[in-house]
Amino acid sequence: MLQDAVHTLIHLLVAFLLPPALGSVIARTKAVVAGRAGPPLLQPYYDLARLCRKGSVFSKTTTWMFKAGPVVSLASSMLAVLFIPLGAHGPLFGFSGDVLLLVYLFGLGRFFTASAALDTGSAFEGMGAAREVSYAALAEPAFFFGLIVLCRITGSAELGVMLGPSLGAAWIAASAPLAMVCVAWMVVLLVENSRVPFDDPRTHLELTMVHEVMVLDHSGPAFGLIQYGAAVKLQLYAAILVRAALPISTGNAWLDWLVFVAGLAALAIAIGLCESTLARLRLTGIPKFLVGAGLASAFAVILLAR
Amino acid sequence: MLIALLILPLLAAVAAFVLPSDRWRAYLVPLGGALHFLVLAPLVVGPTVTSSGNWLVFDPLGKLVLSAISVLYLVCSFFVPGYLAHYNHRPNRFFVMAMLGFLSATSLVILAHHLGLMWVAMEATTLITAPLIYFNRNVKSLEATWKYLLICSVGIALALLGSFFLAYASIKNGLPSSLLFEDLVKMAPQLSRPWLHAAFALLLVGYGTKMGLAPMHTWKPDAYGEAPGIVGALLAGGLSNCGFIALLRVLRISQAGGDGAYAHEAMIAMGLVSMVFAAVFMVRQNDIKRMLAYSSVEHMGILVLGVGLGGEAIYGALLHLMNNAATKGVMFLAAANMHRTYGSKQIADIKGVLHRLPVSGALFIAGFFAITGSPPFGPFVSLFTILGQMMKSGRFFVAGLFLALLGVVFIGMGASVLAIVQGRPTALASASPDREKLWSTAPMVVLLAFVLVLGFYIPAPLQHLLEQGTAMLEVTR
């Protein structure tokens, strides 16, 4: 019993404290590739603390909607995290169909973030919001076909079961579709979390931004919430992708935690490498890429029909 | 007693001829109508009456049609005094005489049980209605009257030839030749088949011309288009039904003579052709009265189609005869009011009737929904019964075509009706002093109430008459 309580505590800690660290690993990888020393690993935590203490400036044209944006997007990400398995450890909660809760919680977060951006009444934030919702809509089928593949293989609609122990055996039986799903999910991860090929988190030219420009007008604790929400969302996608790619469970609980953290780090480094090596896609190129990813995962479903 | 039905309107006509003042003469029409109705009412409820050597017989079919015409005539006759007062600059002696003569002629057609006598009466109705159509005294109404007379004469001549063929059919097989319906129906099985066959074709075309079935309907749009609204109502509701009852009498003989199958197929074909013609000519029609004329062609087609199908559809057709007469009355009177107020029949010139003539506009729309078979009204019940019989006898193609044509007619007619009724009235129309008076709206309201009641509940005597009528036309073998 004690064992379970400890592991649930670790589960909560990993779920809610680890996300900013993921961002720092990516930043550190990019710095090392660029030959720089890079910011200290705990820099994101310092930023969050600083933002919580700072004063904030709100535009006169905004209403309560502007403040609701960050709050709802973080709440939906945090709730979603409770339903996903971290490595071999099953999720804290789960019911048949919680996959859809996950997908639609992302939708809710996106709805409020984009609305908050439009509330400021600035052209740039409108541009960002438009791009965010459009690309997310195009990425939706890619993610969902992957879920269909997993659902078809494991025969259940519960995330814990789909990414559970039976996935290991499934990899042997249907490795080609699953590999294709992982590639598609990698693209979805990069799009949803505004990583380089699709969006540059550190760009300063608003015309080219997608995600960053939506949060242009936020400041102080609200901006802190947004940063933390983005980090949690990144870790969420990463956890799903890692579990789908490496469905191994070592049998020893502690060792599983290490495997999971190592997996996350490896994925962070991979994202860092992607950002350093790839250049950004033209804005008109992004929809083609997303539709391509969607067709890839759709093809995975067709492969299953064989 | 039956003779009274014929003589009373004639007496009123003579009085009209004698009476000098235009104003009082106009009131003779409602008087004649009321007298006719009073005599008719007890007869309809009573048993089948025959008189003068059963040349005049008042059988259930006759009761149905004559009561419909009499009610329509009585209600519409209240329209006439106001109408004639409005056009007081025109002499109306011939008009009133013709109106009353029309009533007695139609009564004679329905009562006559002798082919020759019925033909003479039918020809008389044609001749009496000619001056009615020519009442507007302009070039167009002249041409309309001329074509009406010419085409109906050709049709009636063929009908006469058909009657002679029927008479000869009995002589051919050495039977005592007689043109009385009862005798013909009794002798029918022995009648020589080819003559009976040819006779039915001729009579169908002859009396079909009188009814306005396509392709012999060409006189109808011109005649109804140019005649005054009140005359249009009586023609559409009354005269066409005379043609229909003549056809029914002939059908009974043909059925009894074993040629029923051919008769039914011919009538179904003729019915559908009429509906096709009506649908085609209804689309983008630019004249309200011509539109109503094509609607009349369509509904005559439906009557013939119903009887051709047999079974329940006969009940539906007979009920539709009543509904159609009343609804056509409403729409023609409304069209008359609009024509008078807007000074034009062209749909392009009439707009915003709901605002300018609220009662006429509302009743025109209600009549439109009724005539195209929308449920709360009477015609829906009869159309639905006819459709039910089509489905029961497995004629799916006919049912599909029937519904499609009803749809096209709805679209054609609806576009015109709504273009007139909705929107704002033109400056010219709102300027004209014409107001809606009681005489111009009360008849319509009564007729529409009648149609609405028929939609919900069919009174027992009418139900009894309809069943008897259906039994008469049922194919016995």
């Binding site: - | 020759g116 003479v120 020809e123 001749l127 001329w146 010419l150 001549a157 002679f164 097989n173 749009p221």
Partner: protein, 216 residues
Amino acid sequence: MVHLVDALLMAVIILNFVALGSSRIRSSVRVVGMQGVILGTLPLIVHHTVTWRGVVVAMLAVLLKGLVIPKMLEAGLHPSRAPREARPFVGFISSLLLGAVGTGLALLFAQTLPLAQAHTGLLLVPASLCNVMTGFWILTTRRTAIAHVLGILVLENGVFTFGLLLLDAMPELVEAGVLLDVFVGVFLMGILLKHIDRELSEVDIAAEPMTILREE
């Protein structure tokens, strides 16, 4: 007796062709008048027992069809305006040919109808059908309104000849009624003809009479 009837019927058929062929309206009116007279007298001949009522009806028919109607129609023919010739759609020769074809068709159709033994020899049915067809051709090939009235008359004559077959079935009263109706019909058309002349005086009556009412 039968030969006389056949001869008269042959005369009627020939008169049809004359009516079809004649170019002048005045002559065709007179021809139709003659046809009316012949047909008026025929029932007396065919009918075995001659009753006074039959005679009265025959006299009435001859009087109306022979004299009154032609006189009225000619009155309608104003010397000044109405054109001499009734310019038909088709030439006169072709209308004659049509008449011949029509008669042929009528004969064919008459064959299909079996006659009672008493009437096998008689020409009655073909004659009447031929008249009907001629009436049809006059109605459809001529332009002027007066020609149409003539067409109607020839058609009525055709139907009337068929009526001779069943004289005993048709009591005189009804026969008179038929005659009266035809007469009143033609009389009304005559009145309308005067109105047409008055109304359409400016429009040449021979041209397109009255096609104002049509669907565009």
